[in-house]
């Protein structure tokens, strides 16, 4: 491959004698800024195939510093070793002495098919080898047709390639211009004088994503929880980043869907021979399509995808700094988290770094029963809700980027038990946070409609509800009943209730074994 590329470069240089080709093989340094697009789900990434559209998701901003030696006069600078998921139209190059006259992204891939297609009319050498004697016969041939089935001309006669079952191959003198082994970004520029320049290449790439993941630990009987937040970085592109500075940006960016990497499709070589393998058994009914001919080179299919590392070995790397927190900086109206030290983000890797550690966060555990319709839903369970306030007095007071929250409760024998999972949106400081962990077993609720009246036309206009709750737990609990009051519904209740976010909410404090019954009426005025 190396030799081929050198050959290609030599050829380009020979063709374009007026301007010099400069190749920047790799960046001196790389910095990545990850943006949050969705929750990172490593199992989903593991199951996604090579060409899955998931590989187009995720967004990162990559900045590369490169050193290039420019000759005086016009030059074309080719950038090799860029991230394979680069979105080419977002590339920006700073630091060239006179700027970029034009930027090009070439993806006419060198493959057996394109080699043949671009050689139509060219003279090549045809080599046939006798399998018994090993004797090679070499002839000069002119290519007459391309990758849909090659026909060549030898001594004024015409033959087809790979239709005779003879070992035969074509030898090309050079690679036709414009073909490239991998999609390549280049700029055309002019330097007033020769010299060494440091340029900054920046671009958007996909296949990189991050999400926040929180883990809350609750000791038995405690009203404080320990909250750890993890930055989960996912790299599902083909490019690994070794020891690079990383930033993560929290907040919702608007995207248009235009940022997609260009997936170059190589030209496929087929033989399209006449039928050579006769299936006598099928006679006299001819099969609709001629079967493919024999021979090891009957069809050469080349794909541009590099084979990924063994999919089984995708690692989940966890870097723990037990007390570590990362302080958010402002980037406009987003939060930017600079990772404290350079990290390695390998291709097909999910990496986690702690960025929030709050050992004593005040929370309130509330048991909640909600009535959404005008009738009680027998499947409605009592939910367990943890309420936090994102403020310093409560042991928090940090911007919390959107992500999943996993809650663990330590059981009496000291083992942590997974108690449920919820997700939160971007939580600015001072906002209330609610984490639903699941259904409560020991707080049975019985809800029923005791009476209703209708208007003359049959419309329900008044309904009486009765909700009974019992605390079968060994500890006192805070209990809430919520009635969703949609439209112009009115609620009549002797017990005090609050209105919040469209709900009427009644609060109860229930000691162990205590029962409470709430009666209220809903009205829908005409």
């Amino acid at each position: 491959m190396r030799a081929t590329r050198l050959l290609a470069v030599a050829f380009f240089a020979a063709c374009a004698s007026a301007r010099a080709d400069v190749i920047s093989q790799r960046p001196d340094s790389v910095a990545i800024t990850f943006y949050h697009e969705g929750a990172v789900d490593t199992s989903e990434l593991l199951n996604a195939g090579e060409n899955s559209s998931i590989r187009n998701s995720g967004l990162a901003f990559i900045t590369e510093k490169r050193t290039i030696d420019l000759p005086a006069g016009p030059a074309v600078v080719k950038f090799e070793g860029v991230t394979s998921t680069m979105v080419p139209q977002t590339a920006d190059i700073q630091g060239l002495p006179t700027g970029a006259l034009e930027r090009n992204f070439d993806y006419d891939l060198l493959s057996p098919g394109s080699l043949l297609a671009k050689s139509i009319g060219e003279t090549v050498r045809l080599v046939r080898t006798d399998t018994k004697s090993g004797k090679r016969i070499e002839e000069t041939a002119i290519i007459r047709s391309g990758p849909d089935g090659a026909v060549f001309e030898v001594n004024g006669k015409f033959e087809a390639l790979h239709c005779s079952a003879l070992p035969e191959k074509l030898i090309f003198e050079h690679i036709p211009g414009g073909l490239t082994d991998t999609p390549t970004l280049s700029v055309r520029t002019t330097a007033p004088e020769a010299g060494r320049y440091t340029v900054t290449l920046s671009y958007i790439a996909t296949g990189l994503d991050w999400s926040a993941d929180y883990v809350a630990h609750i000791e038995p009987g405690s009203d404080k929880l320990e909250l750890r937040g993890w930055l989960t970085l996912a790299n599902f592109s083909d490019t690994g980043f070794d020891h690079v500075p990383v930033n993560a940006v929290a907040g919702e960016l608007r995207t248009t869907g235009a940022d997609r990497p260009l997936r170059a499709q190589p030209l496929v070589l087929t033989t399209n021979c006449w039928p050579t393998k006769i299936d006598w058994a099928k006679y006299p009914l001819p099969p609709p399509a001629p079967p493919p001919p024999p021979g090891p080179l009957e069809m050469v299919v080349v794909t541009a995808e590099r084979r990924a590392a063994d999919i089984q070995s995708v690692p989940l790397a966890v870097t723990a700094y037990t007390q570590q927190e990362i302080k958010a900086q402002a980037l406009g109206d987003y939060k930017l988290y600079p990772l404290p030290e350079p990290v390695t983000v390998a291709a097909r890797q999910t990496k986690q770094i702690q960025f929030v550690y709050r050992p004593d966060v005040t929370f309130k555990r509330v048991y909640r029963y909600s009535v959404y319709g005008s009738e009680a839903d027998p499947n409605q369970k009592t939910e367990v809700v943890l309420r936090l306030r994102n403020r310093t007095e409560d042991g928090l007071g940090k911007p919390l980027p959107a992500g999943g929250v996993s809650v663990f409760e330590t059981s009496d024998d000291g083992t942590p038990i997974f108690a449920g999972q919820d997700s939160i949106g971007d939580m600015a400081e001072d906002l209330p946070i609610e984490i639903k962990t699941g259904g409560a077993m020991d707080v049975p609720v019985e809800a029923r409609v005791t009476e209703y009246t209708t208007t003359g036309s049959g419309r329900k206009d008044r309904e009486k509800m009765e909700i009974t709750v019992e605390n079968k737990k060994a500890v006192p609990i805070e209990f809430e009943i919520r009635q969703f009051a949609f439209g112009s519904a009115r609620i009549d209740s002797d017990a005090h209730f609050e209105s919040e976010s469209g709900f009427a909410i009644w609060h109860f404090h229930l000691g162990p074994g205590e029962r409470e019954t709430l009666r209220y009426a809903m009205r829908w005025p005409a």
């Binding site: 920006d92 006419d108 139509i120 079952a165 960016l253 248009t256 469209g502």
Partner: protein
């Protein structure tokens, strides 16, 4: 583009072809919607009378019915587009009834035998007459070469446009071939560096030209047309990206224009290679811009969770029309490095327009709506009492532009905690100041109207 640019059919002067090449001049006009006009000027030697000219180097995605050859001193008799492509199996099919040569290689010795054969049929197998025997080709599985004397006349390596002309006199003629092709498209990509302290936007525009037409265009004079051109017989995508133009401008941009479209001409001839995305800078503009927090709601309802306010960048393109494309906004981080901050679509925008580009949502500025009460005034009218809690976790005060949609005929504000203004018949607007690390509650009662 391949060097053997033109082949004149066998009867004509072969030498004329390469002489014509050097004078070839290409002009390409690219449209936004996967369409380009190619004009190809060259000097051709023609004999007097009828000649068939083959143009093998035109775009592989040519729309042949749009091809036209013009010039003085000759007339066009007919033009053909042949796309019966040369493959081995096609060659064999066309050889039915003709003689071919078969060369067999004996595996043990490597000795070769050559025989003439006539192809009788090609139907899931090739049946041959060799001398007075009837055989099936390769029935024994032995290596068998087939040698043809010629390529059938209508089979070609590439689809080929041919034009038969009738010249009055022999000699060089200047001709211009023009045609439409698909596979070429362009749009604009904008890089906008926003400085929220200085309230400026540094706007760079790039023309992004994509060539998937199957052919390269060498040293072409390139023009790009901005505007929506109607094309028949094609699926019309009527979906428009959400429009970022708040008020369309009335200024005339200083770009050249043709008919109702703007025309951008690249400063020098460029080579547009096959499978290439080419970007050329066309705009460098500094404008005043300001950041605006916006929250827009279309009805009267509660939300259980706070909703983040939108962050828009408002600016005007005073001098330059902006062709359709994607605007990517960058902000400088604390270290002064530009970082990507969001993007929005821009439609073809006349100069002097007011644009509002949404870049994302504010982490620290949230709005939580609560429908406090709703009561029926009459069958169609409802009185809504709304309360909006606006929170600001930033260390500086902000103003949120709140838009409440959902008023009908005769709808009006009854009470309000801050003065509103009517944006349009159905929309109310408030500019709500929210102190640093604080909150503001906006309350109002409206009669929805009918």
């Amino acid at each position: 583009m391949r060097l053997s640019a033109i082949c004149i059919a066998a009867v004509t002067l072969a030498g004329a072809a390469s002489a014509a090449d050097q004078q070839q001049k290409l002009s390409i006009t690219v449209y936004n919607n996967n369409l380009a006009l190619v004009e190809d000027e060259r000097r051709l030697d023609m004999p007097a009378g009828r000649t068939r000219l083959e143009f093998k180097d035109v775009s592989a995605s040519i729309k042949p019915e749009t091809a036209a050859l013009s010039g003085a001193g000759f007339g066009v008799v007919e033009q053909n587009f042949d796309y019966d492509l040369l493959t081995p199996s096609k060659m064999m099919e066309k050889a039915v009834g003709h003689e071919i040569e078969i060369v067999r290689t004996i595996p043990g010795t490597g000795a070769q035998t050559r025989e003439k054969a006539t192809v009788l049929s090609v139907n899931s197998g090739v049946v041959l007459r060799v001398g007075n025997r009837i055989e099936v080709l390769s029935a024994d599985g032995l290596p068998t070469q087939v040698v043809f004397d010629s390529i059938p006349e209508n089979l070609r390596a590439q689809p080929t446009l041919s034009i038969t002309v009738d010249a009055a006199q022999a000699g060089p003629h200047d001709v211009a071939l023009s045609y439409l092709t698909t596979g070429l498209s362009w749009n604009a990509d904008y890089v906008a560096l926003f400085d929220e302290k200085q309230n400026t936007l540094k706007l760079q525009g790039w023309i992004t030209l994509t060539n998937n037409s199957g052919t390269s265009y060498k040293d072409a004079k390139t023009q790009l047309v901005a505007g929506d051109i109607n094309i028949t017989g094609r699926y019309q995508n009527n979906w428009q990206p959400p429009n970022s133009v708040r008020s369309a401008g009335t200024q005339t941009s200083n770009e050249a224009s043709i008919a109702d479209y703007y025309l951008y001409t690249l400063p020098e001839r460029v080579t547009i290679a096959e499978a290439q995305t080419k970007q050329v800078s066309f705009l460098d503009l500094g404008v005043n811009a300001k950041k605006v927090y916006k929250y827009r709601t279309y009805g009267f309802q509660s939300a259980q969770d706070p909703v983040h306010a939108d962050v828009d960048v408002d600016f005007s393109n005073t001098e330059k029309a902006l062709p359709e494309g994607v605007m990517r906004v960058y902000l400088r981080d604390q270290a002064g490095e530009p970082k990507f901050a969001g993007e929005d679509n821009i439609a073809h925008t006349p100069a002097g327009s007011e644009l509002s580009v949404k870049i994302g949502e504010a982490f620290d500025v949230t709005v939580q709506p609560t429908l406090v009460s709703s009561e029926k005034i009459s069958n169609a009218r409802t009185r809504y009492a709304m309360s909006y809690l606006l929170r600001n976790a930033k260390s500086e005060p902000v103003t949120v532009e709140l838009r409440q949609d959902g008023l009908w005929r005769g709808g009006k504000v009854e009470t309000e905690s801050l003065p509103s203004r009517r944006i349009d018949a159905g929309t109310l607007g408030w500019s709500v100041p929210v102190p640093a690390n604080g909150e503001t509650t906006l309350t109002f009662t409206v009669d929805s109207g009918d």
